[in-house]
């Protein structure tokens, strides 16, 4: 009876496993949004991008039989939505926050429309790597079945951190975000930099969506995303636009989101819905603690409309 032997350890173990499993979409969306926001624009539409990514990944995976093609399709869909956002935002006097809200509704609606025939069929899922082969405790084995996308995301965070600091592209994005005049004076088109940054951001958010439909929970339905996209956007703010902090924050969020199901698995049914809302409470609490009306946040790109 391996079950009985670990007893209450089930909960922290499930939270740990959940942190890895649930955090992946948060991680990809927040890294993508980090790039976009560093260039001086906010894309609230990533919630819609996430859902569109989930739908297109599932559809392409079902039609082609290859989940990795699905991931690619999700990324491309996300990049297209990002291009749409950037294109509308580059018109004069258009508010990027409002466009984000519009694309959130548009992306979700379009995904539900196109995804109607996909609710029934089962698409091939993404494989997982079994890091728990050495253990014979089933819960530990389950927690250590880690998806490859998660590893990509974990590797991407330090790469982005490095890229922002040292590469030419990182510097250009940061210049556009800190002072569009400076970027223009250097002879670069701010709109073009932001277009690319938003497209890359959308690409990553789309991949985050593909994780939802192709690995965990691992099916397509209309209740798949309940605000993960928007939570991830908020997460970037208190991660101070730092990719490494985005990684830690995503893990914390994943753990918080896994708390409800974990408690339910050991028989604590009270407040199931409240525990499920833990990531939202956590986001609000952290925003309340870290924001201040007196100063702009340290590390905030100066051109960002949300902090002005």
């Amino acid at each position: 009876m391996a079950d009985a032997s670990i007893g209450l350890w089930t909960v922290p173990l499930a939270v740990f496993g959940g942190a890895i499993r649930v955090s992946t979409p948060f991680l990809f969306v927040s890294l993508g949004e980090c790039i976009t926001e560093r260039s001086g624009r906010i894309n609230l539409g990533l919630e819609g991008t996430l859902v569109m990514g989930a739908m297109s990944a599932y559809g392409i995976s079902y039609l082609s039989g290859s989940p990795w093609l699905g991931v690619l399709a999700a990324g491309l869909t996300g990049a297209m939505l990002g291009a749409l956002h950037a294109g509308i935002c580059s018109l004069p006097r258009v508010n990027d926050i409002a466009v984000g809200i519009a694309l959130m509704l548009f992306g979700t609606g379009l995904a539900f429309f196109l995804g109607k025939p996909l609710i029934e069929p089962t698409a091939p899922r993404l494989p997982a790597i079994d890091f728990g082969w050495w253990s014979n405790i089933p819960q530990l084995k389950a927690a250590l079945r880690i998806n490859v996308l998660f590893l990509f995301g974990v590797a991407l965070a330090p790469v982005l951190y490095w890229a922002f600091r040292t590469t030419r592209w990182g510097l250009l994005i940061r210049t556009a975000g800190e002072s569009s005049d400076a970027a223009r004076a250097m002879g670069h088109s701010v709109l073009l930099i932001r277009l690319r940054a938003t497209m890359v951001g959308g690409f990553l958010a789309g991949i985050g969506g593909s994780f939802l439909s192709l690995f965990y929970p691992g099916s397509w339905n209309e209740g798949l995303s309940s605000g993960q996209g928007i939570t991830a956007v908020a997460l970037v703010i208190f991660a101070r636009w730092d990719p490494m902090l985005c990684l830690w924050a995503s893990l914390a969020f994943g753990g918080a989101a896994a708390l409800g199901p974990a408690l339910q698995s050991v028989g604590v049914t009270f407040g199931y819905h409240l525990f499920n809302a833990a990531p939202y409470f956590l986001t609000l609490a952290i925003m309340i603690i870290t924001c201040s009306p007196k100063r702009t946040l340290t590390g905030a790109p100066a051109e960002l409309s949300i902090t002005r």
Partner: protein, 366 residues
């Protein structure tokens, strides 16, 4: 001094004359959103044509389902009622330059508060119950959005994100209560609270199937319009929305303005929740999260945040929602097609913001 007067007289004489000159701005406010709407309909027609449906059929059935018959008119108006109220939840804070998108949360909290109030006074006369429900719904929804406003004012938390996060918190609270402490043991498949009782329902406007919520909505929209454009308070709010530093210099209490406006905005959405309970559902359950709060955002933006313009726009968007059923039955389009169309309209309306002041013939110049 005299030269200034002379200048102003000259300026008045040089001011644009003729119909277009005087009403150019007003025409612009109607023409540009109208063109955006038409553009969105064309794009949606092309989108539907890609799925092998005839766009002309689409427009015909949309018209039929929204405004074609008395039955569809009533359906449209019933849907417009909560949309007017939730749109005000976005339009009022917009006067202060705030973007609040959490109307759905205030609607849910308003519905919960109103239901709790009705269940707490089982033997009171219906009219008293209805008043108490409206008061409770408005207070609950108002405090909910005021929370976002307070966080913005005192902690600098972005109100757009906090109000949206609070939607999910409100949904969690609602699910927790209707599946736990407030659950009616008789509701097996769909966990719900107990019913508020048929006597306490607010009923329909005589001669129609449209409930009184529409009247509440219209009154609220007119009241908001008067408040914003014809009172000192509304003027102060618009000053603060235009230039917050100027508002502080002339001694306006921006914090109080934010909290009051947010409370009023939330109470509109809370009233929508009360109306949905007292006129449609009769109880609180997850059905209430039908997306009226999110569609209200679209209505507010399409109405350019003008409380009075919210009324016709809500009827128009309500009509699109009402036609969804007919599109599903006659053309075999999924129910989400309404969401797609709303999304396209939203995108077009925002993109059309770039056109203001750029249409040559409206400036009164050759």
């Amino acid at each position: 001094m005299t030269s200034e007067v002379a200048d102003s007289v000259e300026a008045a004489a040089a001011a644009p004359t003729g119909f277009l000159g005087r009403h150019g701005a007003t025409i612009e406010y109607i023409l540009i959103p109208g063109a955006a709407l038409a553009g969105a309909l064309v794009v949606f027609g092309i989108f539907v044509a890609l799925f092998g449906k005839n766009p002309l059929d689409l427009y015909f059935y949309m018209y039929q389902g929204a405004f074609g018959t008395w039955f569809s008119w009533q359906n449209t108006l019933t849907r417009a009622a909560p949309l007017i109220l939730t749109a005000l939840c976005t339009a009022l804070p917009a006067q202060l330059g705030m973007v609040i998108i959490g109307g759905e949360g205030a609607l849910l909290i308003g519905a919960l508060s109103a239901t709790s109030m009705a269940l707490a006074m089982p033997s009171a006369p219906p009219l008293a119950v209805q008043f108490a429900m409206a008061a409770a719904g408005m207070t609950g929804g108002g405090l909910w959005i005021m929370l976002s406003g307070g966080l913005r004012q005192y902690r600098g938390v972005n109100e757009t994100i906090s109000s949206l996060l609070l939607v999910y918190v409100a949904l969690a609270i609602l699910n927790h209560l209707v599946e736990g402490p407030m659950r009616d043991p008789a509701s097996l498949n769909k966990p719900s609270t107990r019913e508020i009782g048929a006597a306490n329902m607010i009923g329909s406007i005589p001669g129609t199937e449209v409930h009184w919520g529409l009247v509440f909505g219209v009154i609220a929209a007119i009241a908001c319009y008067v408040l914003i454009y014809h009172t000192t308070f509304g003027f102060a709010a618009r000053v603060a929305g235009g230039n917050i530093r100027a508002a502080k210099i002339v001694g306006l209490s921006v914090g109080n303005l934010i909290l009051t406006i947010c409370f009023l905005a939330g109470s509109c959405a809370g009233l929508a929740g009360m109306v949905e309970v007292a006129a449609v559902q009769g109880r609180t359950n997850a059905n209430l999260a039908a997306g009226y709060g999110f569609t209200g955002i679209l209505v507010a933006f399409l109405a350019r945040q003008n409380p009075l313009a919210v009324i016709p726009v809500a009827i128009l968007i309500g009509g699109i929602g009402a036609s969804g059923g007919l599109l599903q039955r006659r053309l075999g389009l999924p129910d989400a097609s309404v969401l797609v169309l709303q999304g396209i309209i939203f995108v077009f309306v925002l993109a059309s913001d770039a056109l203001y002041g750029r249409i040559g013939f409206l400036k009164g110049k050759p």
